[in-house]
């Protein structure tokens, strides 16, 4: 180690400093600059990408410095998802590449499942092992008994592989554990879902209503940006949340609602807006079905009725209803994103959809726009074989309106049941940490123990990889090509992800893995291109573009064919529902045997000494996948337990005191979580950010930091409409001393 004095003497040689480029801009610097050796980055080269740290998929540029290292990632100005500004996670995406804890080589389990003993093997050996197992399962049980759980770009290729193999059982936890109820409710009401990025026209709204949605802590980038624009333009925000969220602090009205009573508030709002005649009469008349039934249904649901349930003053309910009505049709009652809370979520989201409909915000400026998208043609692969069974066969007569496969459903159907013809025998898990993602960990682990094959594909040694038979190290998004991004927005856009770096260690892109596996399974016909980029080039050439062009620009924007972002005045519209109208009274729900108009039902309340466990997001992290990222851990390295001062006094808790939590079923957190005493939370609930309390020792930065909310979610309220897993009906109490090891169930 050179001493400080040595350093001064030799620093002129550039030791420890950044070597400067000699570009013209630098030459123009003043003398001050030339004396300072750490101000400029030199010349940078950039390659296009779109972000994989979360599902928003912002397009950006990866900048590399003269040493060929990634210097920074910044947003692409032309991108509608991010407008040139990434969120902290996207900016910190560089940490994904540099994290030395990454999975480095294919691993094969030796010894018992869950003991985490692996040996490093070659790619060929790992893939041959998987192919042999898959073929054995197909022979004995049928190819449908292989399921794919995915959350990320690589899912597309493994989906292709599975369909070619003969299994339709492809699922993402983003449906049944997250936004499923919202899609079902909006489909039933408007005939179209909300999709991602949401079609909310927050930019031009005059009133934004957030119900348990904490935009600003959940960094859904485009929405955060537009909310900020709306604040600038003087829009009012109404936030309904038992916690004083960041969004609540920016709001004109904050309604500190008693948890689990939102549906009563929504029905009271609908009541006020109808009774006072504040609804959009022309719109309701022209476009909706079932208004009279709705009026009758909410007749008794007065603000006074709701006050007794929600603790929100009747005057406040009326005032906020007026605020929405005054802003209409430029009003958004936001559908939220993670909405699997109490098991009646589809009905709650139906109430949200109805409220939007009677205020005329669907299809109107400042409400919900009509998205446009540009789709690339797919290569003409051979047709897939027809599967004979789907996951839904395991649930005869249940969840009739589930539009996508349920991750929780496939997990449950893996545990053998009497009279079921097939239980799942193999899981391929890509980029989703099912141990933390699915509620009721004991159940997930029981399912895993019934598998003949568990393949985990990830960039990091997440908990799920510890349970796997085969672990395949995927390279990060900064080291690979992926499908062209085609998500809908105000205009259609295509965005390219290309590698900025060569894959580190022995990691590989998912496309390569899926193709190699396909070759071993004699399914090569579905992967005709050896290189992903050749397939992309073929697709792009069909619409008159090319890969070379996309590599330069990163993104292509397509103007709308028609000026139809919003409904034209008096436009005749046939909505894709049974009646061709916006269904305030849902015939689809009725036909499936559910309430056509939402009813309020009370939910269980915490017993004495227990508090409702609420969880949410912190802006620096995505799910549980970023907790080990060096750049993001630097911002937030553990979660804390928000406790109201009144509760803290009762328990004698002090700030930063470590506590353990135990829920109503005796599930106990393994690691302590520090108490954060704050006025920002109600006295009947506690709150933590999801995604901490990692139990895999290979995650050196985040192992044992904070608590896992998933571990404490053992009671699941399943939504009968579509199978969503309501996770906010769990109650916890504090343990001020460390529980015994046997009390911490695995």
């Amino acid at each position: 180690m050179a001493s400080r004095r040595d350093f001064i003497r030799i620093s002129g040689l550039g030791l420890g400093g950044v070597v400067l480029g000699s570009n013209a801009a630098y030459q123009a610097f003043s003398q001050t600059f030339l004396n300072n050796d750490r101000l400029d980055l030199g010349s940078l080269r950039r390659t296009p990408t779109y972000c994989e740290v979360c599902f928003w998929k912002c397009a950006g540029w990866v900048y590399k410095n003269d040493q060929g290292q990634i210097q920074k990632i910044i947003g692409n100005d032309d991108d509608l998802h991010c407008n040139g500004r990434l969120c902290p996670r996207g900016t910190g995406g560089v940490g994904m590449y540099y994290d030395t804890d990454r999975l480095k080589k294919p691993l094969l389990r030796v010894g018992e499942r869950g003991q985490q003993t692996f040996k490093e093997v070659s790619w060929d050996e790992a893939l041959q092992y998987i192919a042999d197992k898959m073929q054995a399962i197909a022979k004995e049980h049928g190819p449908e008994c292989v399921a794919l759980f995915n959350h990320g770009s690589g899912g597309a290729y493994f989906s292709r592989l599975l369909k070619a193999f003969g299994s339709p059982n492809i699922t993402a936890p983003s449906y049944a554990q997250c936004r499923g109820p919202r899609e079902v409710a909006f489909l039933a009401t408007f005939g179209e879902g909300v999709e991602s990025p949401e079609r909310t026209d927050i930019r031009d709204t005059r009133c934004l209503v957030l119900i348990g949605s904490h935009i600003g802590e959940n960094m859904h980038n485009g929405q955060v940006q537009e909310m900020s624009d709306a604040i600038d333009k003087g829009a009012s925000i109404i936030t309904v949340d038992p916690r004083f969220s960041t969004a609540a602090s920016k709001s004109k009205f904050w309604l500190p609602i008693k948890p689990a009573t939102d549906l009563a508030l929504l029905l009271a709002w609908i009541h006020v807006i109808i009774e006072e005649g504040w609804y959009d009469k022309a719109y309701v008349e022209k476009y909706t079905y079932g208004f009279e039934q709705l009026r009758e249904h909410v007749k008794t649901m007065t603000p006074e009725w709701a006050h007794g349930i929600t603790t929100i003053e009747p005057a406040v309910i009326r005032e906020t209803a007026r605020e929405m009505a005054n802003a209409s049709p430029a009003v958004i009652i936001h559908p939220g994103r993670h909405v699997t809370w109490y098991g009646d979520d589809s009905q709650r989201l139906r109430a949200v959809a109805i409220l939007n409909a009677i205020l005329g915000s669907w299809g109107r400026r400042g409400g919900f726009y009509r998205p446009a998208e540009k789709k690339l043609p797919s290569y003409p692969f051979p047709p897939y074989p027809k599967p004979t069974r789907t996951w839904q066969d395991a649930y005869p007569g249940l969840f009739p309106l589930a539009g996508l496969a349920l991750a929780s459903g496939i997990c449950d159907a893996t545990i053998p049941a009497h009279g079921r013809s097939c239980s799942f025998k193999a899981w391929i898990v890509l980029g989703t940490n099912l141990i933390e993602t699915l509620p009721n960990q004991a159940n997930t682990i029981q399912a895993i123990q019934n598998l003949d094959l568990l393949v985990a594909i990830d960039t990091m040694p997440m908990e799920i990889t510890g349970w796997a038979d085969v672990v395949l190290p995927e390279c990060t998004y900064l080291e690979r090509y992926d499908s062209i991004r085609e998500n809908p927005h105000r205009k259609g856009q295509l965005a390219l992800r290309m590698p900025a770096m060569e894959p580190q260690y022995d990691s590989k892109p998912a496309y390569w893995m899926a193709r190699e596996l396909a070759i071993k399974l004699n399914l090569a016909a579905w992967f005709p291109f050896e290189k992903m980029e050749d397939e992309l080039d073929w697709q792009l050439k069909q619409v008159g573009l090319s890969l070379a062009e996309m590599q330069k620009e990163g993104i292509k924007t397509f103007e709308r064919e028609y000026d139809d972002l919003y409904f034209a005045p008096d436009e005749e519209i046939e909505f894709p529902t049974n009646t061709g109208k916006i269904e305030l009274y849902s015939t689809e729900f009725e036909n499936a045997g559910f309430d056509p108009i939402p009813k309020y039902t009370p939910h269980p309340e915490p017993p004495e000494g227990y508090y409702r466990l609420n969880y949410g997001r912190g802006p620096a992290h995505t799910f549980s996948r970023t907790a080990n990222n060096p750049n993001l851990t630097d911002l937030m390295d553990e979660n804390m337990l928000w406790v109201n001062p009144r509760v803290a006094r009762e328990w004698g808790l002090s700030n930063e005191q470590p506590v353990w939590l135990r829920n109503q079923d005796g599930a106990t957190s393994r690691f302590p979580i520090k108490v954060r005493i704050t006025e920002r939370i109600r006295w009947d609930s506690v709150y933590m950010v999801h995604g901490f309390g990692h139990e895999d020792k290979r995650l050196t930065r985040c192992f044992g930091k904070g608590a896992s909310d998933s571990k404490l979610i053992t009671r699941v309220h399943v939504d009968p409409v579509m199978g969503g897993t309501g996770m906010r009906g769990n109650f916890v109490t504090f343990l001020t001393s460390e529980p015994k090891a046997e009390e911490v169930q695995r």
Partner: protein, 177 residues
């Protein structure tokens, strides 16, 4: 020229994107930062207020750090931006002790480091990295001597404050309230 920055506390959500952007732009080692986020909560449930501020060096016109630096490493540069010349700096820490805003840290390489208003970017006509990245666009940067610069315009329109005005440092970091 008088460079200044204004941060809108009404829009900032405290996401700390400014912190990561600064770290990657300026090679700030992990574990250190040139800018940071402060959240202040006032009141009792349910009558509450939060002020969120993205803070950094205030680039004061009357800087105690420049006055107390024994080697002249801390100095005023173009447009009043306060810089540290890492070659002249001996890491004595006098400036760290004198800064009322706690805006400086000891770099592991043995010199004192802090925000430069990204002068290398500003010279090229770009905004500082934190301003350019902010998803809420809550930061405004520019020359106070130019009435058309974003920071001049916003300071004319809005109520604002500076931090610890009683320290008499004449800071150039403004918070819109």
């Amino acid at each position: 020229m008088r460079y200044a920055m204004a941060v809108d506390t009404k829009k900032c959500v405290g996401c700390s994107d400014c912190v990561v952007a600064c770290q990657t732009e300026n090679n700030v080692p992990i574990g250190f930062c040139r800018d940071w986020v402060v959240e202040v909560t006032d009141g009792t449930y349910p009558q509450l207020e939060i002020e969120i501020r993205s803070e950094r060096c205030n680039h004061c016109n009357n800087s105690p750090c420049v006055r107390c630096c024994p080697t002249g490493a801390s100095h005023y540069s173009d447009g009043g931006i306060v810089l540290v010349n890492s070659e002249k700096c001996i890491g004595c820490g006098a400036c760290i002790a004198s800064c009322p805003y706690d805006a400086r840290y000891s770099h592991p390489d043995g010199y004192v480091d802090k925000c430069t208003f990204c002068i290398h970017r500003v010279k090229k006509g770009q905004d500082p990295a934190c301003v350019a990245v902010c998803p809420t666009k809550c930061m405004y940067f520019g020359d106070l001597d130019d009435p058309k610069s974003p920071v001049s315009v916003v300071l004319k329109k809005r109520k604002y404050k500076t931090l610890i005005p009683e320290a008499g440092t004449q800071p150039e970091l403004y918070f819109l309230i």
